[in-house]
């Protein structure tokens, strides 16, 4: 699978583990619930760690754990649900998260530009090329 990261199309280097899936080697991403339940074991994982945040999750609960992650995945279940945009803003600007913020799930290619403006730097959309192209839609903005 390929993703867009920092405007480039690259090979995906992350595996999302379902809550009941066994931990595997490499870079893994888990749900917030699983992280909270298995924090102790997971933090010993040799590869990089990521956490998947739903629009209904409260990211402030991550607290100091945020420093343990190389990836935060913002999983959009409904493109009309704009909470992910505020979550991205908070992660990048309030909590100063330096790692990869990736928008996953179901969203419109045309939302990628807005995501990129609030701190999202990676995308795993259905249509890679279409999404990549939208990132150049605007050269000016007010905010």
């Amino acid at each position: 699978m390929q993703v867009i990261k920092n405007n480039q199309i690259i090979e995906n280097q992350w595996t999302f583990l379902d809550d009941d899936a066994p931990v595997i080697a490499g870079n893994i991403c888990v749900s917030l619930a699983r992280w909270q339940a298995e924090k102790e074991q997971l933090s010993k994982h040799a590869g990089n760690l990521g956490v998947r945040i739903l629009s209904t999750d409260d990211i402030s609960t991550l607290g100091a754990d945020l420093g343990l992650f190389a990836l935060v995945e913002l999983n959009v279940s409904d493109f009309m649900d704009g909470r992910s945009f505020s979550q991205a803003y908070l992660l990048r600007h309030r909590y100063r998260f330096q790692g990869e913020i990736r928008a996953t799930g179901t969203y419109l290619a045309d939302q990628a530009f807005y995501f990129s403006r609030v701190g999202v730097n990676a995308f795993s959309p259905e249509n890679l090329l279409q999404t990549q192209a939208t990132l150049k839609d605007f050269t000016v903005f007010y905010q």
Binding site: F79, M80, D81, G82, R83, F85, S86, Q87, Y89, R94, L108, A109, D110, Q111, F113, Y114, F115, R117, V118, Q130, T134, D137, F138, T139, V140, F141, Y142, Q143
Partner: protein, 550 residues
């Protein structure tokens, strides 16, 4: 008025290119129906009953002559030769073809206009007082602040997919002419004890299905903090506003469910974290204000009093001056209302010919600018009194001088069943019938100020719940009925109208309005207005008369 700089222009051109590409992709099946729906809504494109509808933004109601000519051209080229002024001071085209809308938007961009965020669950056009900068009771001109807010809200990356639509209104005067108490955020320019200008901020007001009067969340906000404070409110709303039920998704419900105190705490907490560094500089305010500097008024304008003579000689002209013009802060000038409520035309409609005429008259008589009002009329804000008689004659010839501003035939009306896919009832026909029973101008003027607001459905586009007389179309098993409310107001003493009683069938509605006005005439004391009488006697006398024969 505000003139775009290079970046402003680039932004709207890039937006046009984006929408052109989105529309092509949709027509080629590369964007889903649901996806495209959300993209087109954010460009003002609705799919109506008969065809798409395009809602063009008129930021805080200010237009220039060039823009009016462009609207005329668009109506002529892409539509059926007319457009419609809305209650949010915008302009709608009811018959464009979807595939031509990108071309229309490109034409609009040539005159610094756009349709960005005129619909959809996002921050909408900021509205204001149509008398901004010229009225006698002004604390500060709201337009520079409106433009700041327009820019901040435009394509805001974080707040374009809100739980529901979000409307901001700004008033700079003692008298609220922008219905700020019925907006998601209402901003009143005020002065503190030290004489500094700031904002009184109201939150959680709104019309629609559940009308609510906004509450004061901040009695005085230093103006430099305006954008950070708006951002704090929007972030709290975006994160915590309800998304499970679209009828409970407006910020008014969040404020109600959390309680103002708790909501305020949430906002304050957020605001404290962002406000430092987001201040608007004095320099930016100054630059913005320079776009709205007073015109080069003729200092001797007050010396020419020929119009008094004309008033004396011509009673019709005198009536027009009395009803359709207002005092201006500069002696010798008047504010002139162009009535879009001619008895023969649907309220708020303008033909291409009228648009062109207005554009030309604006240049000749009012520094080339026009404003739209939330009661669906237009305003020439800066007319010399010496020009009034000539202007009146020209407006009269264009059917724009019906002397009914503020009267019972100055009806606010949505396009209703005639156009809108949401409506249960056709409001335009009723407006015509009301005009027919009130065709005696002397009687109309004797009744005086009555705001009749009529919506074709519960979404309340015509703000029926704040009409002195509100009329709401409801569908009862496929038949059009109308619910009537009395005593609503969107002015300083904001109030939501009280229901008169059972709904009235369509063929009785005009006559019912007639009866209500007769009761008022019978009940009023001295110079009492309709609203004052309703507030004093309550709805019972009206109810008794209206339902007497039922």
């Amino acid at each position: 008025m505000y003139q775009y700089n290079h970046n402003d222009q680039i932004l709207i051109e890039e937006r046009v290119a984006q929408f052109r590409r989105q529309t092509e992709q949709f027509l080629n099946g590369e964007i889903s129906e649901d996806g495209y729906r959300n993209l087109r809504l954010r460009n003002g494109v609705y799919i109506q009953k008969h065809s798409p509808m395009l809602r063009v933004a008129v930021p805080y109601g200010v237009l220039n002559s060039k823009q009016l000519h462009k609207l005329a051209h668009i109506a002529r080229t892409y539509d059926k030769n007319y457009c419609h002024v809305t209650t949010r001071q915008n302009v709608q085209f009811n018959w464009p073809k979807l595939e031509q809308i990108p071309d229309i938007l490109a034409e609009l961009a040539e005159v610094q206009m756009h349709a960005i965020q005129t619909s959809g669950n996002c921050m909408r056009n900021t509205t204001s007082d149509h008398l901004a900068g010229v009225c006698v009771d002004e604390i500060d001109d709201p337009r520079p602040y409106c433009e700041l807010i327009r820019q901040w809200t435009t394509l805001h990356p974080e707040f374009d997919f809100l739980p529901r639509k979000f409307k901001i209104a700004v008033s700079g005067s003692l008298h609220d002419r922008a219905a700020t108490q019925f907006h998601d955020i209402g901003l009143h320019l005020v002065k503190n004890d030290a004489g500094e200008v700031g904002f009184r901020v109201l939150v959680g007001g709104g019309l629609g299905r559940t009308p609510v009067i906004g509450q004061i969340i901040k009695p005085f906000l230093d103006k430099k903090h305006i954008l950070s404070y708006l951002e704090a409110i929007l972030r709290i709303y975006n994160l915590f506003g309800r998304r499970d039920n679209k009828y409970k998704a407006r910020i008014k419900i969040l404020v109600k469910e959390e309680g103002l105190e708790k909501f305020n705490e949430m906002v304050e907490q957020e605001w404290a974290l962002i406000r430092d560094g987001l201040e608007v500089s004095e320099e930016r305010f100054t630059t913005m204000k320079s776009h709205f500097s007073p015109f080069d008024y003729d200092e001797k304008a007050a010396l020419n009093i020929t119009f008094e003579q004309y008033k004396h000689e011509n009673k019709t002209f005198a009536k027009w001056v009395e009803h359709n013009t207002l005092e201006h802060k500069i002696a010798g000038y008047r504010v002139v209302f162009l009535s879009l409520k001619h008895p023969e035309t649907p309220p708020g409609d303008l033909t291409s010919e009228q648009l062109d005429t207005i554009a030309d008259l604006a240049v000749r008589y009012s520094f080339g600018e026009v404003r739209s009002t939330h009661r669906q009329n237009l305003v020439f804000a800066d007319v010399k009194q010496a020009d009034l008689f000539q202007l009146w004659q020209l407006l009269n010839a264009a059917n724009l001088a019906t002397p009914n501003i503020g009267t019972a035939t100055d009806i606010i009306c949505c396009p209703g069943l005639d156009f809108c896919s949401l409506a249960n009832a056709g409001s335009i026909g009723i407006a015509k019938e009301i005009n027919e029973i009130l065709d005696d101008m002397d009687y109309l003027h004797d009744i005086g100020n009555v705001n009749i607001n009529m919506s074709g459905c519960v979404n309340g586009c015509a703000h029926q719940s704040v009409g002195h007389i509100g009329i709401l179309g409801v569908d009862k098993k496929g038949v059009e009925w109308y619910q009537i409310t009395l005593g609503g107001s969107s002015a300083n003493e904001a109030a939501i109208g009280e229901r008169l009683g059972a709904a009235v069938p369509k063929n009785e509605i005009a006559q019912t309005v007639g009866t209500i006005l007769e009761v008022y005439v019978g009940q009023r004391l001295h110079e009492e207005t309709f609203l004052e009488t309703v507030n004093r006697v309550g709805i019972e006398p009206f109810k008794a008369k209206v339902y007497a024969s039922h």
